[in-house]
Amino acid sequence: MDYALHLLVVIGIYTILVVSLNLAWGYTGLLSFTHAAFAGVGAYGTALLLMRLRLGFVPALLLACLLAAGLGALLCAVTARLGGDYFILAVLGFQIVATAVFLNWVSLTRGPFGLLGIPKPTVFGHAITTTGEYLALVAVCAGLVVALVHRTVTLPFGRMLRAIHEDEVAVLVLGKDVARAKVAVFALSAGCAAVAGGLYAHYYSYVDPFIFDIHESILLATMVVVGGRPLRGSIVGVVVLLLFPEALRALNVPGEITAYLKQLLYGSLLFAFVLLRPEGLVREGSA
């Protein structure tokens, strides 16, 4: 039972991440292999603000989100005027630099040893200790993020985002401020990803730089590709890709081999979906 609750917590955290990546990539066409880094900013940010500055969980999480959103806005402002490949590479660069910072800023992050003993959160005076309570917290946060993203993509602003994805020049010709829209979306997306990071850090009470590396960003991208653009698809992508490692664990496959088999699956799925079903499992407009 506790294991089922744990799985649901993990699914909830990943749903936040994939929905926020979907907003940037699926809807707006801003392909980012760096969302794990934003989650890392959220995780380290929340944990450090709470442990070092004795802030409460909620203000720490909000501040960390603001920090990630600010970094996302800055990154996008510098790179958004670049063409597609340049943008992807420059944004991927943020992931590489972020991992190097998490690893090497030892006085702040303790480097490869990671942060240990991150306390369980207290939300509005209520201590979250059991997995069930944590699931409720994650569910509320995931619900808020999904609602926020859903609202964003259904507003007229959302139609503009899709239009930017389809034909950026046409939107420019209509006199819309494409660059500002991109920066706003990327900031929102990065901020949401940071929520997931903060929840992750306090759930496991531990973070290290390797949790938020490029492999994680690739996993998130794979989830978006497999699931497809509708927000329901993001949840499908998360569940499909998270259940596979759980199945390997149930079959007692050794740890090192599991890591490679996971990569093998992600790579094969990426290629197979791009080739055979580029729209993902859940089609837009399907019931």
Binding site: G84, A221, Q263
Partner: protein, 291 residues
């Protein structure tokens, strides 16, 4: 001072290897417009092929290196024929081709991981022949890298400018629709380009393997550097890409003087950031050719 000079020498040698790899990447990128992520995986496969040849089959080092280059060429042909061609036929855009390439790259890396495990491997047991000039060690491999670069880049330039196939490749790079109109078959050229590009990665890999040994993550690091060098050099400009790779190799090695080696990948992107802000067209590129 002596350390700085040694780092400079190491940087030049590393830069030569990066230049071989990067020119391969840029060749594919400039002609097919595919952001060829799998190029890094070709490098990894060739590096482990060198290891397998030298350590498991006990081939002489040169034979192992040549065999590895052959493996890389075959892999390049396979990626073009079995991955990129079907994607193109289904009308995949450049973004989809890049994701597909990412997929291929991850599959190859994980297969190598399953076969060889995560631990770093060395290829040779004896130290390299070397001479010491003013306290700076220059190995035979350093000299071989520079000689190979000089010979190969001259040959490549001659191939691209003096042969019919080379001219067709440049035509496709310049304007694929127009090239198709005058009866050039891009499918055949993409195979030639795939083989050439992979061959260059397949030369860079054994050179790195002989110099510093091999690790599973090398392919991705060198891919990032190659992609950055292609942009910093100026997209569409092969010699620029090669020169930028040389420069990045030197900068990366010199950075060890002040930073821990764990910053090496990040240093590359700091250079990219500077260029994207100050000179987005790159060293030799023309401003804004938007597709």
């Amino acid at each position: 001072m002596r350390l700085l000079l040694q780092l400079l020498v190491n940087g030049v040698a590393a830069g030569g290897v990066f230049a071989l790899f990067t020119v391969g990447f840029a060749l594919v990128y400039n002609t097919t417009r595919i952001f060829h992520v799998a190029h890094g995986a070709v490098f990894t496969v060739a590096a482990y092929a060198t290891y397998a040849g030298a350590r498991l089959l006990h081939l002489p080092l040169v034979a192992a290196a040549v065999a590895a280059t052959g493996v890389a060429v075959l892999l390049g042909l396979a990626i073009e024929a079995w991955a990129y061609r079907p994607l193109r036929r289904r009308g995949a855009g450049l973004g989809a081709l890049m994701i597909g390439s990412f997929g291929v790259s991850i599959v190859l890396q994980s297969v190598i991981g399953l076969l060889f495990g995560a631990q770093e491997q060395t290829v040779r047991s004896d130290p390299l022949p070397s001479l010491v000039v003013a306290g700076v060690q220059i190995t035979g491999l350093h000299a071989a890298v520079l000689a190979l670069c000089a010979v190969l880049f001259t040959l490549l330039q001659l191939f691209l400018t003096r042969t019919a196939t080379g001219n067709q490749i440049r035509a496709v790079a310049d304007n694929p629709e127009l090239a198709a109109l005058v009866g050039i078959d891009p499918g055949r050229l993409y195979l030639v380009i795939g083989a050439l590009g992979a061959g260059l990665a397949g030369l860079a890999a054994p050179l790195t393997a002989l110099d510093t040994g091999i690790a599973l993550g090398n392919g991705f690091s060198v891919l990032l550097l190659g992609a950055v060098a292609t942009i910093v050099g100026g997209v569409g400009h092969l010699p620029g890409a090669g020169l930028a790779a040389f420069g990045l190799g030197i900068v990366q090695n010199l950075s060890v003087y002040v930073l821990s080696p764990q910053w090496q990948d990040a240093v590359v992107f700091v250079v990219l950031g500077v260029f994207l802000i100050a000179r987005p067209q790159g060293l030799f590129g023309e401003l804004l050719r938007r597709s």
